[in-house]
């Protein structure tokens, strides 16, 4: 069964950013430069946080604007990036309504969640989880 990352209840988020660090560790390094998930406050931590991450669109707008077909449809929603085709034009970044495409400055390529689920084990408060997607919805 294919899965996607989903946000269960953003009110549980404490803003620890452990998910951001986890996502970057997929590449075996610390930091956040290649993190595909981003946490920021709603204008001050006292008001709570926003979790910004790809929500696995069925009909992704980013894919449609890519001039080189570097982005292809992922089974279960969202996209898969073919690095070698990407020319770093940033059109996908602009097209994503929820700003869930981040930018890896070291290679000038987008960073987009691949719904691998690595981060969920590092969210101490159950804010994010993997959710099964019904294919022919």
């Amino acid at each position: 069964m294919v899965k996607r990352l989903s946000v269960v209840d953003v009110n549980l988020c404490v803003g620890c950013q452990c998910c951001m660090m986890a996502c970057n560790r997929r590449f075996g390094e610390g930091g956040i430069a290649r993190s595909a998930i981003h946490i920021k406050s709603v204008g001050g931590v006292e008001r709570g946080f926003i979790v910004i991450v790809c929500r696995a669109c069925r009909d992704p707008s980013c894919l449609k604007v890519c001039p080189t077909n570097a982005l292809t449809r992922r089974v279960g929603g969202g996209v898969v990036l073919n690095q070698s085709r990407c020319i770093g034009c940033k059109r996908c970044v602009e097209s994503c309504t929820i700003d869930a495409i981040f930018w890896d400055e070291s290679v000038e390529k987008p960073v987009i969640c691949v719904h691998c689920g690595y981060c969920i084990d590092y969210c101490p408060y159950g804010v994010i989880r993997m959710e099964e997607v019904v294919e022919n919805e």
Binding site: C18, R25, G28, G30, I32, E105, Y122
Partner: protein, 591 residues
């Protein structure tokens, strides 16, 4: 490999210049955090420097684990303290360490002073000197945060450190507020910012930190993360540090009304349990810390002028503010206490020093040492929120000679007006909230920061109470100094002290190994001692001597859980400490 940690960013506010220096040897030898900072302070701060002069540097340092492992989540600030005239060191979380590390630095040194108000915007390799005339004199430090949040980039990956009115007016215990609820609280970093006309620092970055052993790194990370999820750590998340109010009160160790007693009849109302039940609105974390110990109370209040108009303020609470503005001032309700805490936060004062200063002033007025002439018309009385609220404003605004003196701390104020017997000052720093026994007080006196966190004497006392044993002054000093030396390792790795039970030596070695550094336990401990030695060298250079420490009479007059303290016991502790420190100072510690 320089993963950015070895980069020291130097900023000269007088000439508006900055440069980066690579200091691998510094971070190899001294780890980072406190270790790197004391060396930089020693290099940059001339002997006898005026704490409020341009020559006093502000050093900010993070460590090798910052951004790599969870709970390495503090920034260490070092400077010469305007409060004690000696070593200034305070630690702060929020997003500050992550932002400094991901901007590509291990430390930042700020010197000089600007002619006009400015703030620094540091975004990765860019450093901008920006005009702060509009936000200078702004009454509310939270508003300043809000404005800079809108103006500067880096949302979610930045830290905003700023001062309030108290810092601008050079109150000796002004704080620096970061991310609204975390502080460089103690010893007056806010005044040092103010003296440089530095209103704020915004810093952001997004870099990655490569490691040599990717698999080992991920595994070690996992292990640490699981340990941090243990029950032992959960208490900091659940009730937080305010869980200590009830037990310390039951023990008879909760300083109340300027330590005239050590039990408070309204402790239950101000307890962590009561706050959690009635006011807790949200818990938040410092960046890269799964614990999330920051507790915010929601205080809903009506506007007086309009019916049915309410505002809800979120106010952070912890044990220390509850002690300093609560039991010390005899405040009986959580609402009044929260309003006072909010005032202190907004004006940018250190909450402990403020509370102790006001409790001294209250007793001084009750004893007739000062009158309404000095207090600018105030009649300070226990549990009188309104008068205290005004007094806090008067300190921050420095309205007259009395409040100017009070703004220099209780040691100074009592040297001018009298009342030294009940001035709760230790080495020039106001007393933290633990009247647990001799170890706490010996610790406040000899600690390099005169803080309860230096050698954790309060915990030695509490264990002695639990095990019904009496320690000799020598045993106490040995334990305090050993603990303080070990804590230098933790604060050089900038591991939050709440994680000290997890970060034992073996785990630290493992964590180092996974990032490509072989270190031995022996070497770590030596480094800890070496850092402590450097701190006392600085302190002595600036005139500190254990001999001339004053023991406040008041601590001998009020019973502790371990009975009344005698001057002789404490003196004996100090003499032992002197010898112990001498032996550390003369030892040639190989690094």
């Amino acid at each position: 490999m320089n993963d950015g940690l070895a980069n020291v960013l130097h900023i000269d506010l007088s000439r508006k210049r900055f440069w980066v220096e690579e200091r691998s040897e510094l971070f190899d030898e001294m780890i980072g955090g406190s270790g790197a900072a004391i060396r930089l302070l020693e290099e940059e701060c001339p002997k006898g420097a005026d704490p409020l002069g341009p020559e006093n540097p502000i050093v900010l340092a993070v460590g090798p684990f910052t951004g790599l492992y969870p709970i390495a989540s503090k920034t260490v600030a070092m400077f010469k303290s305007p409060l004690t005239g000696n070593l200034g060191e305070s630690h702060c979380g929020g997003r500050s360490p992550i932002a400094i590390r991901f901007a590509g630095y291990g430390a930042i040194v700020i010197k000089g002073s600007s002619e006009t108000p400015i703030y620094l915007a540091i975004h990765g390799g860019k450093v901008l000197f920006r005009d702060a005339s509009v936000i200078w004199h702004m009454a509310n430090s939270a508003t300043v945060g809000r404005i800079l949040r809108e103006k500067e980039p880096g949302s979610g990956v930045r830290s905003i450190m700023r001062i309030g009115r108290a810092g601008e007016n050079l109150v000796s215990y002004a704080s620096v507020v970061t991310e609204t609820y975390r502080h460089f609280g103690r010893l007056g970093l806010g005044a040092v910012f103010g003296s440089k006309r530095l209103k704020a620092i915004v810093i952001s970055g997004r870099r990655s930190i490569p490691v040599s052993d990717m698999k080992g790194y991920r595994e070690t990370y996992r292990e640490i993360f699981e340990l941090l999820a243990s029950a032992e750590m959960r208490k900091y998340h659940e009730l937080g540090t305010s869980m200590n109010v009830n037990p310390l009160n039951e023990l008879g160790a909760l300083p109340t009304r300027n330590l005239q007693t050590s039990r408070f009849e309204h402790a239950e109302a101000l307890s962590g349990e009561n706050f959690a039940r009635k006011y807790l609105g949200r818990r938040v974390a410092c960046a890269h810390c799964p614990v999330a110990c920051i507790h915010l109370a929601a205080l809903r209040e009506p506007y007086e002028s309009e019916p049915y108009f309410y505002k809800t303020e979120m106010i952070s609470y912890d044990y220390e503010p509850i002690y300093a503005l609560g039991s010390m001032l005899g405040i009986s309700t959580p609402e009044a206490l929260l309003r006072l805490m909010d005032k202190v936060e907004v004006l940018g004062l250190d909450v402990i020093s403020t509370g102790v200063a006001l409790s001294w002033a209250t007793e001084a007025q009750q004893k007739g040492i000062v009158s309404t002439k000095e207090t600018n018309g105030l009649k300070l009385n226990w549990n009188d929120e309104e008068q205290y609220s005004k007094a806090i404003e008067y300190i921050a605004a420095q309205v007259n000679d009395f409040f100017k003196a009070l703004g220099k701390g209780v040691a100074y104020a009592s040297s001018v007006y009298g009342g030294e017997e009940f001035a709760l000052s230790f080495g020039g720093n106001e007393m933290p909230g633990y009247h647990t026994g001799p170890a706490a007080h010996i610790g406040f006196l000899i600690g390099s920061r005169h803080s309860h966190l230096d050698g954790a004497g309060y915990s030695i006392d509490q264990k002695a109470v639990a095990n019904k044993i009496i320690l000799t002054p020598r045993e106490i000093v040995d334990r305090i100094v050993e603990e303080e030396a070990w804590r230098q390792v933790l604060s050089s790795l900038v591991i939050c002290f709440f994680g000290r039970g997890v970060f034992k030596p073996a785990l630290i070695l493992l964590a180092f190994k996974a990032i490509g550094r072989e270190v031995s336990e022996e070497r770590l401990k030596r480094t800890g001692e070496n850092i402590l030695k450097k701190k006392y060298e600085f302190k002595r250079r600036e005139g500190f001597s254990i001999d001339s420490l004053e023991i406040p009479e008041r601590i001998l007059q009020t019973e502790t859980p371990l009975g009344y303290l005698s001057r002789e016991t404490i003196r004996e502790g100090l003499t032992t400490a002197e010898l112990r420190l001498n032996s550390i100072m003369t030892r040639n510690i190989p690094s």
